[in-house]
Amino acid sequence: MDAIYIITTGSLVAIACGLLGCFLILRKMAMVGDAISHAVLPGIVLAFLISGSRDSFTMLLGAGAIGVLTTFLIEFFHKKGGLQSDASIGVTFTWLFALGVILISVYAGEVDLDQDCVLYGEIAYVPLDLWIGSNGIIYGPRSLYISGVVLVVIILFITLGYKELHLTTFDPAFASAIGISTSLWHYLLMSAVSLTTVSSFESVGAILVVALLIAPPATAYLLTANFKKMLWITVALSILTSATGYYLAVYLDGSIAGAMSTMAGLFFALAFIFSPVDGLIAKRRRQLYETSKN
């Protein structure tokens, strides 16, 4: 039963990340996703200190706001300060993350968080933290519900805003020509990414979330040229990553989140070599074919 709980929670988190990641990598914003996932840390710690617990929606909102603030700061330093964008990303998220780690160390006694949790989450403890109703009925692990709700929100966001997200990603000029605000959708997407990274934080930590944001979408991107198919393949890969990662971790007796990233990387490597469309082998074959034809 524990295995099912962990794999399901992992899948829910991975699917939410992967769906948003598809938009991120096509918008060339993968590193902004990385930055947000690091930068929400001080928000999480502060929300902990203020609310005193983990399971409040204020925490999600507060930390989500910090994520949006991060995007804003990155653009502010880039546009107003004239700092090149890669350095702007690098400076912004490292100092926010450093601040978060320091807050954790300083308030070690008061905050139920430690550096390990920051680095690779506590998905292994998911089955221990149960949601118990007032009449004593056990509904199952709390994280399962939180990640489920977040996934539903993300799916709603993507289906309702599909046209806008799609257009602002692939043809921003056309989008603004027909009256869709690119910056509004940019910030909405960033809010969604913040929300997801905050909710995934407990399960997989602040850094490995990036693997779930980037690796499955990148793999799917190599397997298809159709965006809708890419989303579906990402969903499948996310579930696969979660399940295989869990068993790898059990086998090696290591961190589940670490093993999930490892598996995500392995799937990418497989697609990179064997993909029928864009794989190394397929490309080499095509090359050989072209040269033999000439």
Partner: protein
């Protein structure tokens, strides 16, 4: 406070070593970071930093001890491998560079975490302290560790100084470097090797998670203070050194604290301050400059307005009310009032009973703006063959920018035309015309 005095008196040899080591590490990564920054490869440094973790763990698993040389070799190999893979993925597939950086970074780090937790769970007693590579521990910089890490840092500093000219050239103008026969490929190889080495040496003090900041942040901060590479290197090194020694101090006074975040926080504060207050490039300075330009444009527009009104009724001394001005050209009331007061103080306008009139000085200035506007309209219609009804807006902008030299060139090029395309007379300075 006592701690502070004791620490910075450097009486304790241990403190001396730790402090010197941290400073050296921070300086070497700041110097190398300047070049990765200029080559716009800042985030690659982040990827390398995360990617050395599996190398450290593998080296430990294979050797069974924490010999710094072995760990460094392991870290170096995976760091390099990460760079090669990022480059390979970007070149040979449709995956963009930022995605491959993020992918390699997170997957390598994930593998590292998997290995690290495996080692921790194995109950091997020798592994304690391995996790201090995550967030750094400057106080652990003693004995052989200190010797090894410091020597690499020294080598880094020396190599950067030796190859200063070459690195500068490939950072600013790679094509030119190629064209004059520089071994660009080989130099880049040296530079990437230095980047990996800088990361590898920094991890003892800062840790893999935040190491990227030691490459990026001092360089980014220094860039705001200067346009000269040599000065930038010195400033970055100073920022690095300050944060390095503060990190060592914190690690000494609060041993439970991870050093890396403190070092990064301090260097980031230096950077944030630089972003705002640095002269010329700082955000405050830029805002101030913008404000000044806006103010000048408003001043000139008001004087132009007065001159145009006086052209209509051929009376340059006539005093005008706010409504009169507003009717000719709507300007926001608040800005208009402010501008009028300012021009009054500067002596371009005189004020009586809430009515304003041009002084002689103001007349000259207003005339010049009107002249520039009309000259430019002539220029656009005559030389660029733009329709007369399309030239006004452009002239509205350029009239504030044209310098006296350009003004003279324009006049002689157009041979002092009498009228603009809308057949308004172009006003010249009557004293000059008589000569």
């Amino acid at each position: 406070m006592e701690d502070l005095i004791y620490f910075f008196s450097f009486q304790d040899p241990n403190i001396r070593y730790v402090a010197a080591g941290s400073v050296l590490l921070a300086i070497s990564s700041a110097l190398v970071g300047c070049f990765t920054f200029l080559k716009k490869k800042a985030l690659v440094g982040d990827a390398v930093a995360h990617s050395v973790l599996p190398g450290i763990c593998l080296a430990f698993l294979l050797s069974g001890n924490k010999n710094p040389v072995v760990l460094i070799i392991g870290a170096f190999i995976t760091g390099w491998l990460a760079l090669v893979l990022i480059d390979f993925i970007t070149r040979s597939s449709k995956i963009k560079e930022d995605t491959s950086i993020g992918l390699i970074l997170s997957v390598f780090f994930g593998i590292g975490i998997l290995l690290l937790t495996m080692i921790q769970h194995s109950g091997n007693a020798a592994q304690t302290g391995l996790d201090s590579f995550l967030f750094g521990k400057a106080a652990a910089l003693v004995g052989t560790d200190l010797v090894v890490f410091s020597s690499i840092s020294l080598v880094l500093v020396v190599v950067v100084l030796l190859f200063y000219k070459e690195f500068a050239l490939i950072s600013f103008d790679e094509d030119f470097a190629k064209s004059i026969g520089f071994p660009v490929r080989r130099l880049e190889l040296v530079l990437t090797t230095l980047t990996v080495l800088a990361v590898v040496t920094g991890i003892q003090a800062v840790g893999v998670v935040l190491m990227a900041a030691m490459l990026i942040t001092p360089a980014a901060a220094a860039r705001f203070w200067t346009d000269k590479l040599s000065v930038m290197l010195v400033i970055a090194a100073v920022f690095g050194a300050v944060s390095g020694i503060s990190g060592a101090f914190i690690s000494y006074t609060a041993p439970a604290m991870p050093t890396g975040p403190w070092i990064v926080l301090i260097v980031s504060m230096l950077a944030l301050v630089s972003f705002f207050i640095a002269p010329n490039k700082g955000i405050f300075y830029k805002l101030l400059r913008q404000y000044r330009i806006k103010r000048r444009i408003l001043n000139e527009n008001i004087l132009k307005l007065f001159y145009q009104l006086s052209e209509i009724d051929a009376d340059h001394q006539r005093a005008r009310t706010l409504t009169e001005l507003q009717n000719k050209r709507p300007i926001r009331m608040k800005s208009l009032k402010k501008g009028l007061r300012r021009l009054h103080i500067q002596g371009y306008l005189s004020n009586r009973d809430d009515k304003w009139s041009l002084t002689e000085q103001g007349k000259i200035k207003g005339r010049r703006v009107v002249k520039l506007h009309r000259l430019w309209e002539v220029y656009l219609t005559k030389y660029l063959r733009i329709a007369p009804d399309h030239v006004h807006e452009d002239a509205d902008n350029i009239e504030h920018i044209l310098t006296p030299e350009l003004e003279r060139r324009l006049e002689s090029l157009l041979e002092y035309p009498e009228n603009d395309p809308h057949s308004s007379a172009i006003p010249y300075d009557p004293n000059l015309m008589n000569k």
